[in-house]
């Protein structure tokens, strides 16, 4: 096993990976940008080193700087997390050239799956069904229009180098195709430095079903079932769960076998995810492969009782998988909600602010992977994901009830979050019925508003105002003994912030 691992990431995933490394007895080195000096991952790691300014190019994407820190700190391995450099084949090679172990798939596998057009060919070669589409790197506007007509509207415009919903557009009619292609090219060129786009048939009300795979360097490869990630907003996943209500044991077996075949086709090693679309007729199509740990990996960990980060480390260290496909069966049900700094009542605009009041949910079957703590300043430099709330229940109904309770117990003030929206999603009747397609949010929540404040909320607000006054009348009111002064007590009149 490794002695000291550099975690080339930030946020909740850096925290989660640091914990996994330490559990296996490995030391950890965190890296951070200037605004992340007080970040949780910096505090959790054994050591921490400044990379540079906030801009990713000067910090979390600065390959040279990260590798020199790794050398100076005597690291023997590097974990990239997700995002940033996780799917950068050139960086994976540079890590190996620097004499470190890259805790991720071989560069050739990253490359083969990184360009979506190439990935579709790989999937076809592995015998998996792919979404009907049109891929020609230098097609003219006329060719795109003609191809879209043949595929049939609506179509999706997607960035070949894309991911995370960037460079992706839905087009309903020919008159909007060219402007959508231009917008997708602009976004993709900005985000990935590659403006190549392709067309895919837009499946109607499909489900997003992905298969987790684990492969070792000795030819062993298993799948750990599906995750359903259909609840999305603008192609960003919001709620994920496993098992899917739409996947039978037979379908799981078929999709799992295709995922393993695709992984073997690209010589995959490590943890990876093969994404499929499942249509209303029960037909599934390969979408893409994510050559890294997924944001939503914890739901799989809950129902399969495995630690995917542990396995990433073990496989990278050359160990053989001891998991047998025949023994891998899901137990119970797990749901994840992505907690983001965004205001659901204002079009989900990202929010900034300092966490002033903070209380985490606890209890059986509740897991919180987060970067938050009281006093943390949520800034505008990085994406708005604050963390993930994950629950396990004996069945789906139990898991939903537990998630609703856990959301109610998660209290964050000072920065606006999407928690109330997440509550409404998981307690929606259609969610209870398992009627979860990628159209769910658009159909059920075209807009979202906070319901009016009821009497109890109004009373709470009034008490909040009264209790912030440090007056003699307050002296006898029951307060926790020995507690430190709260902001309410220390604040004077309204003139103080």
């Amino acid at each position: 096993m490794f002695h000291r691992i550099l975690i080339a990431n930030r946020g909740e995933i850096a925290c989660r990976v640091i914990r996994g490394c330490r559990e296996l007895g490995c030391e950890t080195v965190a890296v951070y940008s200037e605004p992340d000096e007080q970040a949780l991952h910096v505090r959790l790691a054994d050591r921490a080193r400044l990379l540079g300014a906030a801009a990713p190019a000067e910090s979390y994407l600065s390959q040279e700087r990260i590798l020199s820190v790794a050398r100076e700190e005597g690291c023997d391995a590097l974990h990239p997390g997700y995002g940033f450099l996780a799917e950068n084949a050139g960086f994976a090679e540079a890590v190996a050239d620097a004499g470190l172990t890259w805790i991720g798939p071989p560069p050739a596998a990253i490359r083969g799956m990184g360009l979506k057009i190439e990935a579709r060919e790989t999937a076809r070669a592995a015998g998996a069904p792919v979404v009907p589409g049109f891929e020609a790197a230098d097609a003219s506007d006329e060719e795109f229009l003609k191809a879209a007509e043949q595929i049939g509207y609506p179509v999706m415009v997607k960035a070949s180098a894309g991911g995370g919903g960037k460079g992706m557009r839905t087009v309903e009619e020919p008159s909007k195709l060219i402007s959508a292609i231009e917008a997708a090219r602009r976004e993709s060129a900005g985000a990935f430095g590659d403006a190549t786009v392709y067309l895919e048939k837009l499946l109607i009300r499909p489900r997003h079903i992905e298969i987790q795979i684990l492969a070792d360097s000795h030819g062993g490869c298993v799948h750990l079932g599906e995750r359903e990630c259909s609840i999305q907003r603008r192609h960003q996943k919001v709620v994920e769960e496993t098992p899917s209500t739409a996947v039978s044991a037979k379908l799981r077996k078929a999709m799992g076998a295709d995922a393993v075949a695709i992984a073997k086709q690209v010589g995959y090693v490590g943890a990876g995810t093969v994404e499929f679309m499942l249509d209303e007729a029960g037909e599934y199509y390969f979408l893409e492969m994510n050559t890294r740990l997924q944001v939503e990996h914890p739901v799989t960990e809950f129902v399969y009782g495995v630690d995917l980060v542990h396995w990433q480390l073990k496989v990278a260290a050359g160990e053989k998988l001891t998991l047998k496909q025949s023994q891998l069966t899901p137990r119970g049900h797990s749901i994840e909600c992505r907690v983001c700094a965004e205001d659901p009542a204002a079009g989900f605009l990202p929010q900034v602010g300092t966490v002033e009041v903070y209380s985490e949910p606890v209890g059986p079957g509740v897991r919180l992977d987060t970067m938050l703590y009281e006093g943390w300043q949520v800034g505008a430099d990085y994406d708005p994901l604050l963390g993930k709330l994950i629950v396990w229940g004996a069945d789906r109904k139990a898991a939903i009830g537990r998630m609703a309770q856990a959301i109610s117990d998660y209290r964050v003030l000072g920065v606006t979050t999407n928690l109330p929206f997440l509550y409404d999603v998981v307690t929606h009747k259609a969610f209870a019925k398992g009627d979860t397609t990628t159209a769910f949010i658009g159909e059920r929540f075209p807009t979202w508003e906070q319901p009016p404040a009821d009497a109890a909320v109004q009373v709470a607000a009034a008490l909040g105002l009264a209790l912030r006054q440090p007056v003699a009348a307050m002296a006898g009111v029951a307060t926790g003994s020995g507690e430190l002064p709260t902001p309410w007590q220390t604040l004077g009149g309204w003139s103080n912030v």
């Binding site: 205001d343 605009l349 994406d383 906070q450 404040a453 029951a478 709260t486």
Partner: protein, 162 residues
Amino acid sequence: MRDKLRINGEAVDVTASVAADGTAQVKVGAEEYAVSGVRREGGSVSFSLDGASYRFHLRATADMVEVTDGRGYHRFARVIEGTEDEEAGADQLTSQMPGTILKLLLEPGAEVAKGEPLLILEAMKMEHEVCAPSDGTVSGYPHAEGERVMPGDLLVEFEAAE
């Protein structure tokens, strides 16, 4: 103590007096509430109202009170005398964070329905639509495409329909 908050769209007087035994008399607008078991711990306040127990987390600053019970979140602006007629909902059209104006979607004078996109803002590497808070008219755009905006900057001059 006495204050004025904007609750459910209306500016109302709010008073609360908490006694040493943890009971409180609370008045919100015309409604009066007898509350018991008031207890404050850290950022939370617990109390009983009509036989039901509640525990909220809340925070009060110079210009607002925010209250959450996890599943719900409410932010009540403190109403400063003389500004009561300030447009409710106008804050939706100010930038919440640093960003860049990517695209102005309409011409000044355009009449829109509630929820219609007015402009596209790029922030946190993503494009975001800023939509009409109600039916109304776009009077103008204070910033040109490509301009940087900071939190609090007005993005759209908007007149709500009567």
